[in-house]
Symmetry: C2
Subunit: 299 residues, 2 copies
């Protein structure tokens, strides 16, 4: 029955039996383009392969996915675009378990990139919310309901991003962005555990900081530390690096983009535009010795 | 792009833009029928309304859904069936946030109920796994990836059900079933918090126990306590109440369905068959004073 129409099972489109809908059983990626070039696609492909492997969605040819992304983008006429794609484990009668014969399904969309220049120039407001997500946020899965609820709550408070705080009062990351604080000249962000997405923009931000002489400390920032930080910033594939000028009711960095933030943004811009003289970073999925769930769950 | 076919956005079926797939943004219910009668539909409708309200999926006429379920079931020729339905928030361009104008989508399927009589007679094996789910398991949402992974892992060990253990070593519930222990003549199960589904079979089991003189204690059972329990059982809409005879490598109740378990099963059977002389229970969503996440997250 679809809405109020009853049909025989055989006549219903197989798409209605997608495990993506029944269970959120799939993984996705997002990449931006700049002036007709896809930015850092190889990093997304690495992470996509990681997500697929962790969920045991097997038999995906990553090179073929890479080629599909490039082919689809060539067909679009968008210089600055957002490419989103996902793979679900496949379709079949609803059952938690799956058989290896199931055939994964691929979906990709290309949309114009929204201009973030005002946000980059003036900074954004963010708000804190409890992190109620599952314990495998290193997998970029389609189970995004806690993220959806948090982003909606932030939007309703006119905030750019919800910043998630764990049960110990420490910030893990934003619901759709990485999060950084500058405290006494040190760039701080939570370590990569299974509670945090191995963000690609995070990888670039830390890499840039190290190359321009900013000390990096991958130790989670408490909410109190964040309120009193010298600078805060967030980063996301579709928004690059954004200065944070207000966190809950606390004004950050006198309400203006901070010095360290602007330096990092400028270097990141050079990567985006293909004008950097820095080497490119290596993507890390998890910091060593930072397994925060039983090994059995990590695989 | 669907698999390897590129299309203009306008020509793609709207179903590919379902927030159910992008985010798992929807809720579901399952009910069994017995001899042509739907068992306890009104309880599912109450819980469905709860799930919808918690996710702010608005504008659903529960009476209309109730009527659709009954209409669809009448059209089927199955005496013993499983009716599954879900509602997603609706379709639209992928964006975490939603507008109130979005139109929810309804999907329902009816399949034959699998015979569980052998399992009821001989009991089942279960295994423990860490509970890595999000902190709003009281909502019956489509974010089921941790459940899928756990059930698949259990199947591969020839286990009927994965029993989830939280970070304190306490059992919350099964990934697709409620969980009970009989310890010193007392029926124990975890209290209803936001970490546990307000299971309808759980509600019946506790109600039955109280009416046939078994003491009930809604205090979570530790893994150690469960290993040493006199009896264990699980319950689920599609399997009723099942005795557990093995938990990990521990034989339970000498490997046979226990006395208390069989009494509860017999009374539950009477409810299923419409032959009970007991009053019907009242569905509870959360035990008082058992809010385990900040109030702000509960609504």
């Amino acid at each position: 029955m679809l809405d109020d129409k009853i049909s025989a099972a055989e006549s219903v489109d197989i798409g209605y039996l997608d495990r993506g809908t029944f269970f959120g059983d799939g993984v996705y990626e997002v990449v931006r383009t700049a002036g007709g070039r896809i930015f850092g696609l190889e990093y997304r492909m690495q992470r996509f392969a990681h997500s697929l492997a962790e969920l045991r969605i097997n038999g995906i040819d990553i090179e073929e996915i890479d080629s599909r992304v490039k082919t689809a983008y060539k067909k679009s006429s968008l210089a600055d675009a957002v490419i989103y794609w996902h793979i679900t484990r496949g379709c079949g009668p609803r059952s938690h378990t799956w058989n290896d014969s199931i055939r994964p399904r691929f979906y990709l969309q290309i949309t114009p990139l929204k201009d973030a220049s005002q946000k980059k120039q003036h900074g954004v407001d963010v708000m804190s919310l409890p992190d109620i997500r599952w314990k495998r946020c290193d997998i970029k899965s389609l189970n995004l309901l806690p993220n959806v609820l948090a982003v909606q709550a932030a939007k309703e408070k006119n905030c750019e991003e919800p910043i998630l705080v764990d049960e110990n009062g420490c910030i893990t990351e934003g619901a759709s962005a990485a999060f950084f604080a500058v405290i006494n000249g040190v760039l701080r962000t939570a370590p990569l555990t299974t509670n945090v997405l191995p963000s690609i923009t995070r990888c670039f931000v830390l890499h840039i900081a190290e190359h321009i002489g900013i000390e990096v400390d991958q130790t989670a920032v408490s909410l109190e530390e964040a309120y009193n930080a010298d600078e805060l910033m967030i980063s996301a594939s579709t928004r690059d690096v954004l200065p944070v000028v207000k966190f809950d009711d606390k004004i950050i960095a006198a309400g203006r983009p901070g010095e360290y933030t602007m330096k990092i943004m400028a270097e990141f811009e050079k990567f985006i535009n293909g004008k950097t003289t820095l080497p490119w970073p290596k993507l890390v999925f998890r910091n060593k010795n930072e397994f925060n769930v039983p090994q059995a769950l990590i695989k």
